[in-house]
């Protein structure tokens, strides 16, 4: 009973975020990214629900655009990372050739040891001219896949040692059948939880590099709003809503996804 109640709250909050991000932009009365469309520095009021920025953007519509872009970027990163993680991890877990196995393992381990943030800053800085949300998602994926891939690999290796694998072999199942029928349920559980983890990680990462000015600043993301708020010294000038509102949106989103992944983990683990 307790679980379903908190699950309902979590799903409700998440749905609110998704509607805000994916439905509302269609009703925007004007392109919220453009400057000087509304009066500057208006605090939140009935006219401007989230207030306006120093460059004359309506923060309500702008945040809605930004949240959409941030979530999309997160989903894209998580999907690409999970795909690579699954393919390489499963291959590394299954190949018989010891040399190939060692090369794959080495490759996965090296990527998982690269410190993400510094490398990201270098990459985005050197490619800053070509940056777009899609390119950023792909760059993030370079760093995102290795950890889940490692887990998929070790999950398969440990499943292969479980007696039920031997039972299946002795029942005449082929290794491919065993993979799809016996292992996939375990791997999918794991990937579902990793997916949500990667999603929040990617959104957080994009925000971080954006604050350094290394993201697509003309495109609205949570990070780019924060960047401009910092550039215009919003807090010092008392325009608190400019940075605070996107931070609140980001925090509630990440906490909700985190909650959800915990619940999914618990639900799947309990079986």
């Amino acid at each position: 009973m307790k679980i379903t109640k908190s699950l309902a709250i979590t799903i409700g909050v998440l749905a609110a975020h998704l509607i805000f991000a994916y439905v509302l932009p269609y009703f925007a009365p004007y392109d919220p990214r453009r400057w000087a469309t509304v009066p500057r520095d208006m605090p939140p009021s009935t006219a401007f629900l989230f207030g306006t920025t120093t460059v004359g953007q309506d923060l309500f519509w702008l945040s809605s655009y930004a949240l959409r872009n941030s979530i999309t970027l997160g989903i894209l990163t998580a999907s690409v990372s999970i795909l690579i993680a699954f393919l390489l991890g499963a291959t590394a877990g299954f190949v018989k050739n010891p040399a190939l196995h060692n090369i794959l393992t080495l490759c996965i381990d090296s990527f998982s040891l690269i410190p993400g943030l510094p490398a990201l800053i270098v990459l985005t800085y050197s490619w800053r001219k070509y940056l777009s949300p899609i390119l950023i998602a792909l760059i993030l994926s370079i760093f995102g896949w290795a950890w889940p891939s490692r887990s998929v690999r070790s999950l398969i290796l440990s499943l292969r040692e479980r007696p039920f694998t031997h039972t299946a072999l002795l029942s005449g199942y082929s290794m491919i059948e065993i993979f799809f029928k016996e292992y996939l349920p375990y791997i999918i559980k794991w990937l579902a939880v990793s997916f949500l983890g990667l999603l929040t990680w990617a959104i957080g990462m994009e925000t971080t590099i954006a604050v350094f000015g290394l993201s697509t600043l003309e495109e609205a993301t949570i990070g780019s709003i924060l960047y401009w708020a910092l550039q215009y010294q919003a807090i010092l000038r008392g325009i608190w809503w400019w940075p605070i509102i996107p931070i609140l949106l980001l925090t509630t989103l990440i906490v909700t996804i985190y909650q959800l992944s915990n619940m999914i983990g618990e639900l799947l683990g309990a079986r």
């Binding site: 039920f164 031997h166 039972t167 002795l170 005449g172 079986r271």
Partner: protein
């Protein structure tokens, strides 16, 4: 054609140990064994970590040894052709220790039964289910009791009987049973072991892996005792277990807690075993740190298998 059903010649399997596996230690150390075609129960006995489970997996064709050959009906198990391999899988089956680990907790147990009937006997659903019914009734279960159920819905004893039924379905010639009763309550253990005895009458041979010498004595015809990866004594079960030739076998039997042995068991001097890994890597006899009969020679040279009556013993006392 070979006269043996199963033959192991100087089989060794190494595992890595220590920092990224620098030190290779022999989990199974040049083990040789043979089983005649006549149905028999051969026990491989030893304490945990002696390599008996590794040896079982080698026999099953699941773990390739680095050295030595494994022959089933005279053919090398690890270089079988496609068709031969399928026949080997059908004829050599297994029962494992942990009944709850034997089946995937996410799947229904009957899938393994139907899978075996389909793959090994090429049966269609209807034929398969009548075959499964018959096999299950042999172990005292009905098909309605098990269909559509997950492993967690059964007791350990029930699952172990389902595991036996699964192994029997493919009409095997040899069953490797790795500690099949160690996780079952003592009061139901005999029911499982009696099934093995009965199956021997039906032309099925067994390799029974156990640490329990009392159950080994109860069902086996022949026995091999392992210590730190090596087979140190082998021969007819009566002879080995009642007369014990190797000092280690003597220590094992005298440590067995049994009714009627009270005085001896508590009072008689004995020494506990040494550290495992050092003994695995020893170049002489591996039992030297504990052995009451040790000689100079034991430290330097590994004893080969000597004949002592009907038994073969790896001990310099018999050299």
């Amino acid at each position: 054609m070979s006269e043996f059903l199963l033959e192991l010649k100087n089989v060794s399997k190494f595992f890595g140990y220590g920092f990224i596996g620098w030190i290779k230690f022999p989990a199974v150390d040049s083990a040789s064994l043979s089983m005649e075609k006549e149905p028999k129960i051969l026990t491989i006995a030893g304490e945990s970590g002696c390599g008996k489970t590794t040896l079982a997996r080698i026999v099953l064709g699941l773990l390739k040894p680095e050295e030595g050959t494994v022959l089933y009906k005279g053919k090398r198990v690890y270089s079988l052709k496609r068709g031969e391999r399928k026949l080997f899988r059908k004829e050599v089956q297994a029962i494992f220790q942990d009944p709850y680990g034997t089946f995937n907790p996410l799947r229904n147990v009957d899938t393994y039964l139907f899978g075996t009937a389909k793959h090994m006997l090429n049966m269609k659903d209807e034929e398969a289910s009548s075959q499964i019914k018959e096999t299950l009734s042999f172990v005292g279960l009905t098909i309605d009791e098990i269909v559509g159920k997950k492993p967690s819905e059964f007791s350990g004893g029930q699952l172990q009987r389902i595991a036996i039924a699964r192994a029997l379905l493919s009409q095997p010639r040899l069953i490797v049973a790795d500690e099949p009763v160690s996780m079952i309550d003592a009061s139901s253990r005999m029911n499982v072991l009696n099934i093995f005895k009965e199956l021997k009458q039906r032309e099925i041979s067994f390799v029974y892996i156990t640490h329990d010498l009392a159950t080994a004595y109860y069902i086996s015809d022949e026995i091999a005792i392992m210590y730190r990866g090596m087979i140190i004594e082998k021969g007819p079960a009566d002879e080995v277990l009642l007369n014990q030739y190797h000092p280690y076998t003597k220590a094992l039997v005298s440590s067995l807690p049994e009714h009627g042995k009270r005085e001896k068991w508590i009072k008689e001097e004995m020494s506990p075993l040494g550290m495992e890994i050092k003994e695995f890597l020893a170049s002489g006899c591996k039992y030297i740190s504990t052995c009451p009969n040790k000689m100079e020679k034991c430290l330097k040279e590994r004893p080969p298998m000597f004949e002592a009556g009907k038994v073969k013993v790896a001990c310099w006392l018999y050299g």
